[in-house]
């Protein structure tokens, strides 16, 4: 798995959390020396759990939407993470929707962020699956994003 810190937070992206544009504290973890904010891959986390679990760090973990939750060993450690980032390889691949729903159902309370290839038209569903933060390309329009997030006022699914 490649080191993802190098691509995250480049200036061509921006973050929307709880429907408003906000700074991404994990954006410049490489540039800022000894930053408390760390974003790790699943491999990095598994290799050095003890180090990353140290209290001094504000830890984020990067997952791929296609991960099957039984195959990644993080369910017992969800409280360690302040951020879980789920990257969509393709907007037609719906596995990330189930992954996010399960992370919330199993008790993850931190920031759940969608990155990668998803459509504006999927924002409302993504939000209802538990995502509360979304990474966009610079040209995306915040008004359009807010409208898309609020596309539906009710839902049939309470579970």
């Amino acid at each position: 798995m490649s080191d993802i810190n190098s691509t995250v937070g480049s200036s061509t992206k921006f973050l929307v959390k709880h429907s408003t544009v906000c700074d991404d504290p994990w954006a410049n973890t490489k540039a800022v020396k000894n930053s408390r904010y760390q974003l790790v891959t699943i491999d990095q986390w598994l290799a050095s759990k003890d180090y990353y679990s140290s209290n001094d760090l504000v830890l984020g973990i990067h997952l791929l939407g296609e991960y099957y939750i039984d195959d990644i060993d993080i369910l017992d450690h969800l409280e360690v993470f302040s951020l879980i980032e789920v990257e969509f390889a393709s907007f037609t691949d719906g596995r990330g929707f189930s992954l996010a729903t399960q992370l919330r159902q199993y008790g993850f309370k931190g920031e759940l962020r969608a990155t990668g290839d998803f459509l504006l038209d999927q924002l409302n569903y993504l939000q209802r699956c538990g995502f509360d933060a979304f990474e966009f390309d610079a040209q995306a329009d915040i008004t359009v994003i807010q409208e898309a997030l609020a596309a539906f006022s009710h839902s049939y699914q309470s579970g």
């Binding site: 907007f91 719906g94 569903y125 539906f152 839902s155």
Partner: protein
């Protein structure tokens, strides 16, 4: 019938606004083709051979007269004056213009109709028994559950981008009129000592790999329905193949894992999921059942009703009497209430594509429904329309009115009641035409006495192996194939779906035929049946009893004799 509440209306309104915006962005070039594709599909919109095709959901096949009238006016105003009833009980418009579709959707919403999830890789419109609520063999009315599943699956955020399409069917009877074992999930409502619940089947399907479903759970308590469906869908969403669309249906996953492993995965998932879903409590079910309560039937004594039925046609001329009695025999059926019958309006007169219905006919059906059947109708898997609640003393009057509009072809359930997909005349996926083949068969077998003598017979024709006409579970199935640019037709025998225990996929009899040879081939098959049947023995029973060899020998005499010659040569 279910009536929308404020939330249903609001959601529909928001969905139309969303699709209007998507369509405008696409037409302006702001939304790419590949991004618009899944969005429009989830709104029932295909781009077809000649024009877009829009599929309208008819939840579990129920339509009110006001909905029929709206479909009639939309056929007139947005299409070429007709629409098409599909084998999944839905309605299709074949000629709407893309830019008018948001407006069309708004009109549909005025009568609580929509196109949501009638296509695309999501949970499709739920289907059920066209005789729900009135069939004599029904244990529990499936419609309240079908509506609950409709709501649960509609705009479901987690299951909108599945590996492939996903179809759920629900039946509550002994006879399976919804082909539940040929769906991704089939639910059979049962009453046990543990209360109401479901036998759950999974992994059935038609298309290029027809598979009969496996039993996933012998008894699922009613209250756990939605959490269990979620567990199945989540397992499929995460583990179903996404690398090859022909291997992406749940049936392939079930087959690859084996039903035991698949069951174990679902059950494990379910234990985790369960706590996060509300149980389907008694009160919710009862509230939903109220929408499907029986209409206010008139009271008839059984004997009086039978006498009325017998004497209905006494005043008709002889040949009309005969036609009426044939219609009574083939196109009406038993009803759980004494004095009532179900009536099938045939949409299969010779020369009309199966399931096609004009705007004028839709208006007439609405009037007939209002006058004779409490203002409601059902669409069927066989592409006809059922008036489910007709009093016996109205039957003659109904027949006389329906006759004028071509609905009384007394062929329901017979050879010429052909189920047929739109085929190569309309569909971009088709390998071959299907409508002209159906018509040629109807013209060839126009002697109704012969057709009646053949008895119950299901003949279905699909123009490609996607199998929209369900040919592989038909007594006689015909499949259009492409051989080096030419259209040929394979014949299958022995498929059936109506009985849970014996449902089966048909087998190909041999090399394919040209379109012009199909009526002769069919004639040969039927002749074998007539020659070999025992008293009152049905076609499907003969096929099951004798196997395919006798049919093969009759259809391919040269091959059979050359085989015999070879065998004889070996013996020497």
């Amino acid at each position: 019938m279910y009536i929308y509440n404020d939330i249903d209306k609001q959601l529909l309104h928001e969905r139309i606004a969303q699709f209007r915006d998507q369509t405008q962005r696409f037409l302006k070039g702001d939304l790419a083709d590949d991004a618009f594709l899944p969005l429009r599909l989830q709104n029932g919109l295909y781009i077809q051979r000649h024009a877009p095709m829009l599929r309208v959901a008819v939840p579990y096949g129920m339509l009110s007269s006001s909905q029929l009238r709206k479909l009639a006016s939309i056929s007139r105003d947005y299409d070429k004056g007709y629409c098409h009833i599909t084998t999944r009980q839905n309605i299709q418009f074949n000629w709407p213009k893309l830019e008018t579709i948001p407006e069309l959707l708004k009109e549909l919403s005025e009568v609580e109709m929509h196109t949501i999830q009638t296509s695309g890789n999501c949970i499709r419109n739920v289907t059920s028994d066209a005789l729900a609520g009135v069939a004599g063999d029904e244990a529990i009315d499936p419609r309240p559950y079908a509506e609950l599943v409709r709501e649960w699956s509609t705009l479901h955020p987690e299951f909108a981008f599945l590996p492939r399409k996903f179809k759920i069917a629900i039946s509550g009877s002994t006879q399976d009129r919804a082909s539940i074992q040929f769906h991704d999930i089939g639910l059979q409502l049962v009453l046990s000592d543990k209360g109401r619940g479901f036998r759950v089947f999974v992994g059935g399907g038609l298309g290029r790999t027809p598979i009969k479903a496996s039993l996933l759970r012998e008894f699922l308590p009613e209250e756990d329905l939605l959490s269990y469906l979620s567990a199945i869908l989540r397992t499929y969403n995460q583990l179903g193949r996404r690398d090859n669309k022909y291997k992406a249906r749940i049936k392939i996953l079930v087959r690859a894992l084996g039903i035991d492993t698949f069951t174990q995965k679902v059950e494990e998932q379910w234990l985790r999921v369960k706590a996060h879903y509300p149980v389907l409590d008694q009160k919710t079910v009862e509230l939903m059942q109220q929408f499907f309560s029986s209409p206010s039937y008139k009271k008839f004594e059984l004997e009086d009703a039978e006498l009325t039925l017998k004497n209905l046609s006494n005043n008709l001329l002889e040949h009309s009497q005969r036609a009426f009695k044939n219609w009574l025999m083939r196109n009406t059926g038993e009803h759980k209430i004494p004095g009532y019958r179900t009536v099938t309006l045939s949409l299969k007169p010779t020369g009309v594509p199966a399931g096609d219905v004009t705007d004028r006919q839709l208006d007439v059906i609405a009037d007939l429904a209002d006058r004779y059947s409490f203002g409601e109708v059902r669409t069927t898997q066989q592409q006809n329309i059922v008036l489910a609640d007709v009093a016996v003393n109205d039957l003659l009057e109904l027949w006389l009115s329906a006759k004028q509009y071509g609905f009384t072809s007394a062929n329901v359930g017979t050879l010429t009641d052909i189920t047929c997909c739109p085929g190569g005349d309309f569909c971009a996926l088709a390998n071959a035409k299907s409508i002209p083949v159906a018509e040629a068969i109807q013209r060839r077998f126009d002697d109704m006495d012969y057709v009646y003598d053949l008895g119950d017979l299901a003949l279905k024709i699909s123009g490609c192996m996607n199998g929209c006409a369900h040919h592989s579970i038909s007594h006689i199935g015909i499949l259009g194939v492409d051989k080096k640019g030419e259209e040929f037709y394979q014949i299958m025998l022995g498929g059936s779906a109506g009985d849970i225990a014996t449902a089966s996929v048909g087998k190909v009899v041999g090399p394919s035929f040209s379109a012009s040879d199909i009526p002769d081939a069919l004639d040969t098959i039927l002749q074998v049946y007539v020659d070999r049947r025992l008293e009152n023995e049905s076609f499907i029973h003969v096929v099951n009893r004798l196997g395919l060899d006798v049919f093969k020998a009759a259809l391919y005499p040269q091959k059979a004799s050359s085989n015999n010659n070879r065998k004889a040569a070996k013996l020497h």
